[in-house]
């Protein structure tokens, strides 16, 4: 007996298949406002399976499978089934998607113009995007920014926001509880709780935006701004792309155009509120 859920996030139609009911039920609930895949066809299939057949029941352990897999990945306990499903979905997109250049970045939009926020895990890009997305901004995505190879526009990919550790309480204080998933503790990244993006982010997921500012947030770094040269931005963006090499020259063209056309700034900040204030101030300067 397998369980499945299908829904669309931006250009990607997902189908998630699971050996267990509970993670699928959680997905169906959290992705309840998302449309079905176009013509019912999923473009990315993710499976979360028992590590061994008997481990569906005995100390259940979840393996992530799909069109693309990372063999030898450690299984997660079933209590982290929802996280496994989200990781599986990310993995299928990260390794399989070819229609856009993928940047491991968050993005927000206002008036058709977008900020791309690039940083490693812990840089605060996800929290910053989530906080901005509760204010005057539309959340385009907290995990991947999808850059159009021809038009240079960002395609929204507003999947669930993955809140981690301290940012969980910070966001839980601002949003209604029905937008929050279960608290998942003891993951490789600490505690995780998923947040459903605001309704406008989901309803407008087919409206692209033009990137006008590249931001490199550094949570915990010395407060302040530093202009980032195009060549440095280029290196950091190639490093944060999951398909730059696979796409070849079209990605080179799209990325060089982006870093030449769009100013890039590194910001250090010590708290979410300080980060939001810095972004808003910067936005005013680029003529937002």
């Amino acid at each position: 007996m397998t369980h499945s859920a299908s829904f669309r996030v931006g250009p990607v139609g997902f189908r998630i298949v699971s050996d267990w009911r509970e993670p699928v039920r959680q997905l169906q609930q959290l992705y309840g406002a998302y449309p079905a895949p176009i013509a019912g066809v999923a473009t990315a299939t993710a499976r979360i399976e028992a590590a061994r057949p008997w481990r569906r029941w005995l100390r259940p352990a979840v393996h992530i499978r799909g069109d693309y897999i990372i063999p030898d990945a450690l299984p997660l306990p079933l209590s982290q089934g929802l996280l496994s499903a989200e990781m599986a979905m990310n993995l299928q997109v990260a390794l399989g998607w070819r229609q856009h250049m993928l940047l491991h970045a968050s993005a927000v939009e206002q008036g058709g113009r977008a900020i791309i926020m690039v940083g490693a895990s812990g840089s605060g890009k996800s929290t910053l995007a989530a906080m901005l997305g509760e204010g005057d901004w539309r959340l385009l995505g907290d995990e991947f920014a999808m850059l159009g190879l021809d038009d240079g526009l960002l395609a929204p990919f507003p999947r669930l926001v993955s809140l981690k550790n301290e940012s969980i309480a910070e966001m839980a204080a601002r949003v209604s509880v029905d937008r929050l998933g279960p608290l998942i503790i003891g993951t490789p990244k600490g505690s995780i709780r998923h947040l459903v993006p605001r309704a406008d982010a989901i309803a407008r997921m087919d409206e692209p935006a033009r990137p006008v500012l590249l931001l490199f947030p550094g949570f915990g770094e010395q407060a302040g701004l530093r202009a980032v040269a195009p060549s440095e931005a280029f290196m950091r963006l190639t490093d944060s792309s999951t398909n730059y090499v696979a796409l070849g020259e079209p990605a080179f063209v799209a990325l060089t155009r982006l870093v030449r056309d769009v100013p890039a700034v590194a910001i250090g900040y010590a708290s979410g509120a300080q980060g939001v204030a810095a972004v808003e101030a910067l936005w005013a300067e680029v003529g937002g």
Binding site: P230, F234, E249, F252, T256, R260
Partner: protein
């Protein structure tokens, strides 16, 4: 030993974009992207369709550019040519 004569990769093999002080170069043959600082893009340009030694390169660059004072320009150019050769962007003629 006679000095090495170098020839640059065919220009249609490379896509180049100057970003700032660095140029990004995409090599269609290898699929690799390189970032090149001065004087590497200029060396590639003067070797384009015209093979030459490190001394030739130094002379050609001197025609187009003011070059900062250096005791051993040819030596430095030779170093740069080795670096370009390691990337496969120039080869021995």
């Amino acid at each position: 030993m006679p000095p090495t004569t170098w020839v640059a990769a065919a220009p249609d093999r490379l896509a180049s974009q100057q970003l700032d002080v660095l140029s990004a170069v995409f090599d269609r043959a290898s699929g690799q992207t390189h970032l090149l600082a001065e004087p590497l893009p200029q060396i590639l340009a003067v070797l384009n369709n015209a093979p030459g030694t490190s001394l030739d390169v130094a002379n050609r660059l001197s025609i187009s550019f003011d070059i900062e004072e250096s005791d051993s320009l040819a030596q430095r150019i030779s170093e740069c040519l080795d670096e370009l050769a390691a990337l496969g962007l120039v080869v021995k003629a």
